[in-house]
Symmetry: C2
Subunit: 309 residues, 2 copies
Amino acid sequence: MNKSAAAEHSAGVGAEAFKAALKSTADAVNAELDRLIPAVSEPEGYVVEAMRYAALDGGKRLRPFLVCAAADLFDVPRTQSLRVAAAVEMVHCYSLIHDDLPAMDDDDLRRGRPTVHRQFDEATAILAGDALLTESFAVLADPATHPDGNIRIALVQELARASGAAGMVGGQMIDLRAAELNLDDAGLRQLQDLKTGCIIACACRSGAVVAGATNEQIDALGAYGIALGLAFQIADDILDVEGSAAETGKATGKDEAAGKETFVSRMGLENAKSYARSLADDAVGHLKAFGDKAALLREAAMFTVNRRN
Amino acid sequence: MNKSAAAEHSAGVGAEAFKAALKSTADAVNAELDRLIPAVSEPEGYVVEAMRYAALDGGKRLRPFLVCAAADLFDVPRTQSLRVAAAVEMVHCYSLIHDDLPAMDDDDLRRGRPTVHRQFDEATAILAGDALLTESFAVLADPATHPDGNIRIALVQELARASGAAGMVGGQMIDLRAAELNLDDAGLRQLQDLKTGCIIACACRSGAVVAGATNEQIDALGAYGIALGLAFQIADDILDVEGSAAETGKATGKDEAAGKETFVSRMGLENAKSYARSLADDAVGHLKAFGDKAALLREAAMFTVNRRN
């Protein structure tokens, strides 16, 4: 019979070991991003400065962690998985820059610092986002990421699919039009799958792709990622209601103030919490084939629904 | 001894044949873009509508022509070269959408129609640009572009390099800061090489890359493209002074009104014209190794400096 996720959890590596692994991946990916986006003194250096400001900002680096943890299932050299992780994080960072723009969510604060268009200016923020997106593909295409061109192009395909109009950008489009679209539960789930889930699933899948894993393995990690991504988003909605700005590093209570539909507003706080927990269980279920090696990924699912920021 | 470009021209295919080839490539790439960006009825379809509005707008399609004409030197199947051409044009179209935004050049008119942010809205314009950029890499990564993954990843690498912070985006950054940077002649040339030249050179190089051409052949076509790109930009500056809005489909006299430094403002109209012609000759010089097969590319160089729109 299926063990419950909580039972798997107790047999796992423990939250502290997971936090340590998350922190050490974050440090390693920060160093990788620092190397991959070197400051330049050329006249165009201003946009690179904005890219570095956005990319080296001390986020949790959940997506890079997922790339590396998935790749670790197959013993991929960290030199390779960190480049893939950095590419996925560049796409995440570009999306945050553009989402924060005045024409979009109009946010002044991100992870406790001024957003890119507030720190630089709007034009530079748009260009820095464009350049980070472009650079993510340049990083994947570089032979340093993997000697086999077929692996590298498969990575490009994963990232492009997850982040385009049928993925992350499509999700942001739906989000901007959510009020007029009058979304039902399935519509809200689709919004979140596209906006957050696709790129989180892409992170998990990419760790397997760079390993040359089977389609079955790639798909299992993708399914883990989709469930994890939705759990993550619901946890975010819960934090928006329960958290404080000091804990989360961004303004809270914004969803309600904006009249934005969330899982919490639709199903109530307790139901949303239990839905998030069931998604985390669902995510863990997809890891069965990987045995004990997947302990950190199991912990990640638990962390996602228990996090305070 | 070197034949002059004018002499090569008289021995070439003639301006009419070139215009017919440009038109037929434009028709073919329009059909390809129409297929590659199908309208969707999903909630995220609004951004796809904006992508289609921007991509299917009746431009000259010079970059796609260059991809196809370069690929034709090596008898690449048109099914392959048109996909590469469409990908390069998607990047060009995304750059126009973002350059036109209020925070950038703030243009209301593009090729005689409202710009994307005027026709839709600013947020949708930003997202449509993001999605076109992303989709360009998805198109290149798809096995339909070429069966060999090493060729496809080389195409991704070309396009990412040409369009990022060390290419097109960097050029736009310099352009936005041109007044405060106080550019000298070399600085102005670098601005134009990055902003316009890199992606035009990329179009020419990519036609050779998809053919599996030698590095020498790829570099020759790249050098042709850089010279052509600069000639093209100077011709644009000349048109801004000499052309009318009816001919060019966009507002003219804008550079002077904006106090913008151009080759015309720096060297005077006649010197700029003769510089453009010498660049076209330079471009033609790089085609020597390709013999008669390069007649259309020679014509393209002539067309660039003689165009009226």
